[in-house]
Subunit: 362 residues, 2 copies
């Protein structure tokens, strides 16, 4: 602990026998006073232990906080362990650093609905990263008179957004699996609403999901498979509230227990896919010969394992969100930035075994 005694711009001015303006200028507009006087001011400041203009008072006066607020959906611990979230965070932090803006993590616990922290944050704008459309913290952010940018989800009218084409991206992936011959697939997805539901998600729940990203990806899959005659209502979709490899593994177990015919596990995130791979291995299922597994995000560990997935530019997304927020609010600029994705064909996907092979081995 380290504390100094107080001293204000006014007391410094009094001590020096000059006006407060002059002291202020010594710090903020060096060209507005003689070098000699400035030297004296700074010198006296040091002697008195004056730490320079108080940032909060300055903020009140200038109406600039010099910081960007960040609202994260997940528990902090999850966010800090999710490579995609970290990539976003890094990109955003970089953008802030470039603009000399602080990055203020808003202390929010998704379990509780306490919105006060949003109102307490002294920031010039907010970046909201991937929250459900009915998140009360999001509502609180939007009620504040500062610019806001949403990353990924949800889509809010009149609010800038940076994201990807979730539907198109996953349809491309689905098409690939379809071409390989997969018709009996299963899906493992992240939470679809704020209430915990660790288990199968019926079509109704899929369609009314409060997480735009998950809803869109499921819709894309449904659409792609419907085209080749797959009845989506019979496709098992297992939902997990927590986003972790353990969740992916248990979801895969649940799905494979219930439906042994599945030839491909489509996961809506790489983290979940990593868990699914673990579970497949545990069961002695060979990937991709016995089971195809796909992810979404393009995280480093997935790449190392050769995971078939969709890569999205998370770092760029964070940078874009920061730039969008920090850019002068030009009403003519695009209200939505859609970043490109890339289908990565790894070694975890292949044509399904034929019925014959399933009985007699490869």
């Amino acid at each position: 602990m380290h504390v100094r005694r107080p001293a204000t711009l006014a007391s410094l001015a009094a001590e020096l026998g000059v006006s407060r303006t002059t002291v202020s200028n010594a710090y903020n507009r060096p060209d507005q006073l003689s070098p000699e006087l400035r030297r004296r001011v700074l010198e006296t400041a040091r002697r008195l232990g004056y730490p320079g203009p108080d940032p909060v008072a300055r903020s009140l006066r200038t109406r600039k906080a010099g910081a960007v607020g960040l609202l994260l959906t997940e528990n902090l611990s999850y966010a800090f362990r999710d490579p995609a979230a970290l990539g976003f965070l890094e990109g955003l932090a970089l953008a802030c650093e470039g603009a000399g803006q602080g990055l203020h993590l808003v202390p929010v616990n998704p379990e509780r609905e306490d919105v006060a922290a949003v109102h307490r944050a002294g920031v010039d704008g907010f970046v909201v990263y991937s929250v459900p459309d009915d998140d009360p913290h999001l509502a609180a952010v939007l009620s504040r008179p500062v610019p806001t940018v949403v990353a990924d989800q949800p889509t809010v009218d009149g609010v800038d957004r940076v994201g990807i084409d979730d539907r198109g991206a996953i349809m491309e992936l689905a098409q690939q699996l379809i071409t390989l011959g997969h018709r009996k697939v299963g899906v493992i997805c992240m939470r679809l609403a704020r209430d915990r539901n660790d288990g199968f998600a019926p079509v109704e729940r899929q369609k009314t999901a409060h997480f735009h990203v998950q809803r869109t990806r499921l819709a894309g899959l449904s659409e792609a498979f419907a085209k080749v005659g797959v009845d989506w209502s019979r496709v098992p979709v297992v939902e997990r509230f927590d986003h972790s490899t353990a969740s992916g593994a248990s979801a895969a177990a649940q799905l494979l227990d219930a439906d042994r015919d599945v030839t491909a596990l489509i996961c809506t995130s790489d983290i979940l896919a990593l868990g699914a791979l673990t579970e497949a291995k545990r069961r002695g299922l060979r990937v991709p010969q016995d089971l195809t597994v796909t992810g979404f995000d393009g995280i480093a560990e997935g790449e190392r394992l050769g995971l078939t997935t969709v890569r999205q530019p998370v770092l760029e997304k964070g940078k874009a969100a920061g730039k969008l927020l920090l850019a002068s609010p030009d009403p003519t600029r695009p209200r939505e930035i859609t970043l490109p994705t890339e289908l990565i064909l790894g070694t975890t996907s292949a044509a399904p075994r034929t019925a014959e092979e399933r009985w007699f081995g490869p």
Copy 2:
């Protein structure tokens, strides 16, 4: 972008025909006014688009910003990719969340000496994570009249600190290697000062290193090996400015090129050790038969690879830093928290081959 028109507590009060105090109370002390009046105030606020009390003005008045500043030494990109730093960040964020405090990342670029961002941050205190003892940003932080806690380094008189017993921890590791029979060792360490020096670090540089942690670890190694008659001035110590696996690999290459007799590579971080392992593999050196490699930190990837290392509780360290800062400044509480470490004997360390074995194979 989303902007609302302004409205202040005063204008609301005028509209309602009540005093500002009453409006303020409606938000901050609901028990100080009748529920009916409060309802009316909030209702009118909604109608007028009043977003609630301005956080900056409130901060100025209450002298509380509701946020903790975090000063990171490395480039943001490095920090976000260093598991140890991330663990610390997670712990700190958790502590802040628990106390309802925001976490304000100070936008600082270690390459530049611009200290203004430190002065601009509206925070109630600072956590400084692992910076050199001559860091100008640290000086700026200490000049501000708010509590400060330093994590790891440096040690500053009168400033609270949370860290580990670097000397003891690495001496234990060294003792282990000595017991195994290692006498010809090499060291790979992180930057020792703010100037870039990618190469061998003479004893003089080791002793005057501005990074307390690195200096102490090297000193601990030196002391342990001196006890068994090793002349430390002949022990190759390779320094790398950037903290990455690539650095670890190139440092290992440089060291092994210069000194083929080395039987053990002691790295002062797991990240560097990971790189060293890669380089060893590339050269066809078997670990641990041909070469022992050790790390420091205890990161997950190292654990998976069976790296011999010292585990330190990074998450706890972050939490401890937060708690120390947020605790009421009780002058009797300890000014220094030293967290326990644990020697992890993995599969990357073993007795060195004898000269005979080196010639005739294992």
